[in-house]
């Protein structure tokens, strides 16, 4: 299995973006590309070529699901694992996210010390080990 290295992280809130990046980079040792919006993510995605994408759901402009649909339209992103990071983790909401083609969701607020482990666990589950 290919180890998880590159994560594209989309979050409109700069503070949360900073904390998450810090947690993923410092604790998880991942290479993170943080975007402030869906549009930005679509711009950098092709160049960054992430192993996995983390998407906030509620964002001004393109929200999480729209961004996901757009990403899936890009060449090479049809199967890239995508996880939503959201406070909305009610069962039907989770089902909705699954239908959009995400692999899972990470509940907000997240524990920064555990975030890297959570993401890695997701990665491993998607890659079937």
């Amino acid at each position: 299995m290919k180890p998880l290295r590159r994560i594209l992280y989309v979050e409109d809130d700069a503070d949360i973006r900073m904390v998450a990046c810090l947690a993923l980079e410092s604790i998880g040792g991942f290479e993170v590309s943080a975007c402030a919006s869906g549009e930005e993510a679509l711009d950098v995605a092709d160049d960054f070529a992430p192993d996995m994408i983390l998407l906030d759901v509620m964002m001004p402009g393109m929200d999480g699901p729209s961004t996901l649909r757009a990403l899936r339209g890009l060449p090479g992103f049809a199967d890239t694992p995508v996880a939503f990071m959201t406070a909305k983790v009610q069962p039907e909401e989770l089902a909705e996210y699954g239908a959009l083609g995400s692999c899972d969701a990470i509940a907000k607020p997240f524990d920064p010390m555990l975030l890297a482990d959570q993401v890695r666990a997701l990665w491993e589950s998607v890659n079937g080990c």
């Binding site: 949360i16 900073m18 810090l22 410092s26 039907e92 997240f110 920064p112």
Partner: protein
């Protein structure tokens, strides 16, 4: 002619024994009285008694007599054959006479000809070995003897009948002319024939015996001569010489009587001899021994003894000769005689019979003719009577014919007069019957007494009225029977007086019927007198006037009652002559306006108009006109009248026109006049009250709708009109479900029906939030409170409706606000928590100790804030119905274990131990429940963290499960301070904390228990607690158990709003 013997009752049984014995005795006596005909042949008369017994007493007594008589012959003659013959005779004659109706003489003749003679011949000829001629002779003799006897018996009976001798118990047939003639003729013939024959027979015997005796005497004298002629004769030779026949016996006897010489048979010396009458020197000797008399005669010997004198040694000469020859000779002669007699007898019987019949023929004819004579006379026909050559008969016949004709004439006359009489009687009977029917069926009671007042006759009406029949009353005084306790004594005295004076009277009287019922009668009583004016009795006509009396009494009572009622109710009355204006009032009328009648005088209609309120007069006038015009049945007005004291009195006048003038104008009117002031005041007070209530109801903010038990709207207030957009009149009478949206609308009628049937469904009472439907179809949120009242015995429902649209809107806004705020708060909080977390996690490396401490404070408070916001959001979701529950059937224990595990670090931090106690659950692992795992975890977490928080350091928390009635109960018990009393009511309320300081000391949002309750209830369970302050608390919740079979794989998604869908129905 009635034979007296016939009147005597026939004797039966032992009563006849004396007569039978008498007849038997006579039979013996008759046989003893034998009349000897010749040797051993006697006429005997026993059968006379036998025949009389047969005729008078019957065959069996006859047979008994025959037996007794026959027994004597057995003794007399020494053989039983006569007995047998007599018995046969009695038997045959008795049978023929009794059952064949044959005359005894003819019956006896028949017996002897057919049976008697042969039997006798047989018995005597064969058994007794009598010579046939003798046997024939005996047969003839016996039959003739019998016939003679029977004729004698018949004659004796006839004589008895003629003399009308009455023998008790003996019934004899009436004497017939023919019979008596027959008997007399026969007797004459028999006597005429038999006597000479018998006498001739006797004479013949006598002659024969005399001749024999003479021969024997001569022979004896001859021997005597020869004895005397020869001296010393040879006695033997002498005798031999003298003996002329072999059957002659000779003997010479010594003086001493010893036989000196004997020749031939000399038997008579051996035994005594008997002298023969008329023949002094001849004696007859019969042998002794057991043989019949006849045989002894036949062996007998005639003897002559002649004394010898002068010859020594010889005293007498005995000459004997056997009777045999003589007897045989006599027998032959007598046989001829008896044969002749027998022929004579038969001839006599036949000729006597014929003669008697011939002689009595005219009498019989006359008898036959007279038998039909009565009928012929009655029919008025001529009577034919036989002519007779005999003058007397002819004469008698003519006389009878004459008499019959004369009788027939009289009879005819009698018949015609009888016919007339019958017609007249019939006519009178009809008339009498008619009168009798009139008297009987008259509704009036009629009673006739004699002069003394005793009842002699009553009619049916009397019986109907009193119940007594004529037999009950006859001979009794009517007063004594009919009057009773309440009968007026004075009236009775008046009646007695009138009766004593023989006067007519009329009176009304209370009488009593037989069954005790009392009734009133009007009595109209007249003396009955004969043509001479003499008093014969009294006749009373009584009319039942009970009903009239009762009616009158009822009327009186009713009038009294009415008066009492009017008096008691203080109702005034009035009568008004419309024509004249003349009016009368009663004292009550005046009393109502505080006056007495005297004060109001003179009374007229003006008295009324003067006192009435002027404003009310037009209305009263109009009501009167309507009544006079016939539009109303009653004149009925309420008006005010001036009281003497000056105030107004409300009165109610009610009256009716009683009569009109010939022209049709109103004439008399009467009515009542009642003081209704109090009623009026009450009415007005009520009207005020109603108005007041109405005003309140109409002005209240809340809607008010009343419906009856079928859902039909009864009233609607203004607020309700406003809420639903209808006008009251549009709604009244409609089904209240028109104000409801589906599904309430569809279910409401059924719901009401169930409520009526007693299935109380809990929507009565406290307010519920439901949707109403406006006229325009839009929905309106309302709070509905329903109460049940009873009106006129039927349930009514009052619905109080509050429009909560505004409140709802505010609530919604608040929820949305909370949700928004919470979400907006969470974003910065996520960043804060993350940043602090990273720092506290040492990502940035080691910080100074003071900084670490501050960082720890900031981190823990940021976590607390996160939890608080989570709780707030949960609460908001629950209240907004947005909380989704994923119910799945799963084992309970893993959830509990996970929750304990999750709280373990917190417990350790607090120095509290968590102990599990599942002893009450037999197989804890198998407890399955239908729950949302995450939410149940949340509940357990809340309870455990609360318990940990409130436990003292080193304390213990016990977690246990129990199974109770299909529920599993989970208990969390701590050793904390318990729950203060004042806090108990609101422990499950939002933001409830016992002490505001607690929040700082213990942490927590104050929402945990409220959320836990909501969650548990959403999962079908109940939550509660037990606590004593100072002794810890025990929180527990129950969840329904799912049996594995029923609930396998069961899952359901329930949201908070889903449950309210059916709340109204």
């Amino acid at each position: 002619m009635a034979n007296p013997m016939q009147l005597a009752p026939p004797l039966t049984g032992f009563a006849r024994v004396p007569l039978v014995l008498l007849m038997a005795g006579l039979a013996v006596a008759g046989n003893m009285m034998a009349m000897p005909l010749f040797f051993g042949v006697d006429l005997i008369f026993g059968s006379v008694a036998v025949m009389i017994a047969i005729v008078a007493l019957g065959p069996m007594p006859g047979l008994a007599a025959a037996f007794c008589g026959g027994m004597y012959t057995l003794f007399l003659w020494g053989h039983p054959y006569a007995l047998a013959v007599f018995m046969c005779e009695a038997l045959v004659v008795g049978w023929l006479h009794k059952w064949r109706g044959v005359d005894v003489v003819m019956a006896d003749l028949a017996f002897w000809l057919a049976l008697g003679v042969p039997i006798v011949l047989l018995c005597y000829g064969v058994f007794l070995e009598v010579a046939w001629p003798t046997a024939g002779l005996i047969a003839l003799k016996q039959s003739l003897n019998a016939l003679f006897n029977i004729v004698l018996a018949s004659l004796l009976l006839s004589a008895a009948k003629l003399r009308s001798v009455a023998i008790p118990g003996v019934v004899l047939k009436p004497l017939k002319m023919g019979e008596i003639l027959f008997q007399v003729l026969l007797a004459a013939i028999l006597l005429a024939g038999a006597v000479p024959i018998i006498l001739g027979g006797r004479e013949q015997r006598h002659q024969q015996e005399a001749m024999l005796g003479h021969q024997l005497v001569e022979l004896a004298e001859h021997i005597d001569g020869r004895l005397h002629a020869a001296s010393a004769p040879d006695l033997g030779a002498l005798l031999a010489e003298a003996r002329t026949s072999a059957d002659i016996g000779l003997a010479l006897l010594s003086p001493a009587g010893v036989v000196r010489v004997a020749l031939g048979e000399v038997t008579s010396l051996e035994s005594p001899v008997q002298a023969l009458s008329g023949l002094p020197r001849v004696a007859f000797w019969k042998p002794a021994g057991a043989m019949s008399e006849m045989q002894r005669y036949r062996l007998g010997r005639y003897r002559v003894a002649v004394d010898v004198e002068g010859i020594d040694g010889i005293g007498s000469i005995v000459v004997e000769r056997a009777a045999r020859q003589l007897v045989e000779r006599l027998d032959r002669g007598r046989l001829q005689l008896f044969s002749f007699l027998a022929v004579l007898t038969v001839f006599g019987i036949v000729s006597a019979r014929l003669l008697s019949r011939w002689l009595t023929a005219p009498i019989r004819e006359l008898e036959d003719a007279s038998r039909s004579m009565t009928r012929r006379i009655a029919l008025g026909r001529a009577t034919r009577l036989p002519d007779s050559p005999i003058r007397e008969f002819s004469h008698l016949s003519a006389m009878l014919r004459e008499m019959a004709e004369s009788l027939a004439g009289s009879f005819e006359q009698l018949q015609s007069s009888r016919d007339n009489l019958e017609k007249e009687v019939a006519a009178r009977t009809v008339e009498l019957a008619r009168l009798s029917r009139v008297a009987s069926q008259s509704t009036n009671a009629v009673l006739i007494t004699d002069v003394g007042g005793a009842v002699v006759w009553i009619n049916d009406g009397m019986t109907r009225l009193t119940g007594y029949t004529l037999d009950d009353l006859r001979g009794r005084s009517p007063g004594s029977v009919l009057q009773g306790a309440e009968t007026d004594r004075a009236t009775v005295a008046t009646i007695r007086e009138a009766l004593a004076a023989e006067r007519s009277f009329e009176a009304d009287l209370l009488n009593y019927a037989k069954d005790g019922r009392s009734y009133w009668v009007h009595i109209n009583c007249d003396p009955l007198r004969d043509d001479a004016g003499e008093l014969q009795g009294f006749m009373a006509i009584e009319t039942d006037i009970t009903r009239e009396r009762l009616d009158a009494e009822k009327l009186r009572a009713s009038e009294q009652r009415l008066a009492a009622v009017i008096d008691g109710t203080s109702i005034g009355t009035w009568e008004w002559n419309v024509d004249t204006g003349e009016t009368t009032f009663n004292e009550h009328w005046a009393g109502i306006v505080g006056h007495s009648l005297a004060e109001l005088a003179p009374l007229s209609i003006r008295t009324w108009t003067a006192l009435a309120h002027p404003d009310d007069l037009p209305g009263a006038r109009a009501a009167l006109d309507r009544h006079f015009a016939g539009e109303t049945d009653f004149f009925d007005v309420q008006c005010r009248m001036r009281h003497k004291a000056g105030h107004w009195v409300w009165v109610h006048d009610r009256g009716r026109l009683i009569s009109r003038t010939a022209a049709g104008r109103p004439l008399l009117m009467s009515g009542t006049h009642a003081d209704i002031s109090e009623q009026k005041l009450a009415e007005m007070a009520l009207a005020d009250q109603v108005q007041h209530t109405r005003a309140i109801i109409d002005n209240m903010v809340d809607g008010l709708i009343t419906i009856d038990q079928r859902g039909s709207i009864d009233s609607v207030n203004r607020a309700a009109e406003r809420i639903f957009g209808y006008r009251a009149e549009e709604l009244v009478g409609q089904n209240v479900n028109c104000l409801m949206p589906d599904p309430y609308r569809r279910h409401h009628d059924e719901y009401l029906r169930r409520h009526r049937d007693g299935t109380k469904v809990g929507s009565i009472g406290a307010g519920r939030e439901v949707d109403g439907k406006r006229k325009d179809g839009s929905l309106v949120a309302i709070e509905l409170s329903i109460s049940e009242i009873t009106r006129e015995g039927f349930p009514m429902y009052v619905g109080l409706i509050r429009d909560i649209t505004e409140r709802k809107r505010i609530e919604r806004m608040k929820s949305e606000f909370v949700a928004t705020v919470s979400h907006e708060l969470r974003t910065p909080l996520t960043a804060i928590c993350g940043a602090l977390g990273l720092l506290a996690g040492g990502v940035m490396g080691k910080l100074p100790d003071k900084a670490e401490q501050l960082l720890a404070v900031a981190d823990s408070n940021s976590r607390r804030l996160t939890l608080m916001i989570n709780d707030l959001l949960d609460m908001e979701k629950l209240e907004a119905g947005k909380m989704r529950m994923q119910l799945e059937q799963q084992p309970l224990m893993p959830v509990i274990e996970a929750a304990v595990e999750a709280q373990q670090s917190f417990a350790e931090e607090r120095g509290v131990r968590i102990g599990c106690d599942f002893r009450d659950a037999p197989v804890p692992g198998e407890l399955e429940v239908l729950v949302d795992c995450q939410r149940l975890h949340q509940v357990l977490g809340n309870l455990l963290s609360n318990a940990i928080k409130f436990s003292p350091r080193g304390g213990q928390i016990r977690l246990g499960t129990e199974v109770e009635a299909g529920q599993v109960v989970v208990r969390v018990r701590d050793q904390g301070p318990g729950i203060p009393h004042e806090f108990r009511d609101r422990i499950f309320h939002k933001f409830a904390q016992a002490d505001s300081s607690d929040s700082r000391e213990k942490g927590g949002t104050g929402l945990g228990l409220a959320i836990s309750r909501e969650l548990i209830e959403r999962m079908g369970g109940r939550i509660g607690y037990q606590s004593k302050p100072g002794h810890g608390a025990c929180f527990h919740f129950s969840l329904p158990l799912v049996t594995s079979a029923a609930g396998t794989g069961a899952s359901a998604a329930v949201d908070a709003g889903g449950e309210t869908a059916g709340a109204h129905s």
